[in-house]
Symmetry: C2
Subunit: 216 residues, 2 copies
């Protein structure tokens, strides 16, 4: 039923989906059962028109004169995002950032399952993070031989990222969530990289603060 129109969905629309999902989740938790695009628009700061247009990329989830059922829209968007998958995922780097990511993300609710953590620091190897034992990075090949790994999370220094990406590519891993302060670029077009640049976000904050002061 959800197989509606499959023209390519634009990047801005895709980036708004998790936001819809988040707000609908909050409404659901509050026990709200129905909502109109107008009400959502007030809450989220998008226009009602945009919300309707975004949703219509994927199907017709609302009902004229009524609006949307919070629960079923929440589920639909979750499904569109693919959160009902359970992609097997490993984490590379068990430093502060790696641990924070491992502990804070509820991977299971986001379509992923964390099945291994690797580091090359002998101090960390053998320790436990979120019930997973940190393994020597040298054992990556062995591990990937035994387990089908769908995605890898990079919480390693910039200098190490590209090399490890190469190893993982050879092991069949094609999807990367990258925190390494470095734009992972891979020549193969079957690879998906989601780069997270916390520094960029911080610099944007700096820009906005600076401009604010200049204007006043």
């Amino acid at each position: 039923m959800a197989m509606h129109k499959y023209e390519k969905i634009s990047v801005p629309v895709i980036r708004r989906l998790p936001r819809y999902y988040r707000f609908l989740g909050e409404l659901l938790a509050k026990g709200v059962t129905r909502i109109s695009s107008r009400q959502l628009s007030d809450k989220m700061g998008f226009t009602a028109s945009q919300i309707r247009q975004d949703l219509n990329c994927f199907g017709e989830f609302g009902q004229q004169g009524y609006g949307y059922s919070v629960e079923s829209l929440y589920n639909e968007i979750g499904h569109i995002l693919g959160l009902d998958h359970s992609y097997k995922t490993i984490l590379i780097g068990a430093g502060n950032l790696g641990k924070a990511v491992a502990v804070h993300m509820s991977f299971e609710k986001r379509g992923f399952q964390l099945i291994g953590i690797f580091d090359n620091d002998s101090q960390k190897i053998g320790s436990t993070v979120r019930d997973i034992v940190v393994t020597d990075l040298d054992d990556l090949e062995t591990f990937c031989g035994k387990n089908k790994v769908d995605a890898a999370i990079f919480c390693v220094p910039k200098s190490a990222a590209q090399k490890i990406a190469g190893r993982l590519y050879n092991l069949g891993v094609r999807n990367y969530w990258n925190f390494s302060h470095y734009d992972l670029t891979v020549d193969y077009d079957d690879v998906i990289v989601e780069n997270v640049h916390l520094n960029d976000s911080l610099m944007v904050l700096c820009y906005r603060m600076t401009k604010e002061y200049e204007e006043t």
Copy 2:
């Protein structure tokens, strides 16, 4: 000299600035002294036209027939971003994520200076992160009375964020870098919030992985 045109700069342009800064930093580190928009375009995956247009929002930094001086363009963009400031900043929350942020970000190079860390967990209070002693969150008012705080970083649970934001607003803090899985919304329009939603990024990765599989 940099006071060129101050029509409002669009959000997409602003979000690309840190990226330029990053790539130019890498070129600088490699000892490259000059670069053309075309060469940058090959490296970064934007069109040359876009790069020139973006830069021209702020001034004329290039020279016809030559291109741009890597070093001076790097410095100009750093200045545009406001990285030569030193905004006094506090971190709220010294858990895994807070520690990771404190340790990984070179605030000094990004226009900020970390001057305090707060938590309400007695286990953490008194411990040291990056040479800063973690202080009781109850002492926030005292601290802000003694120190002018420009910005605050939120690494606290969703449930705590909004309340702490209110306290900080009353203490005169107007700028927030928010990791709390919650869109901080403040009614006052002198407030700047940069929300970081790691979950959103993860969900986008999930979407892209899912679509990839569907298409093939």
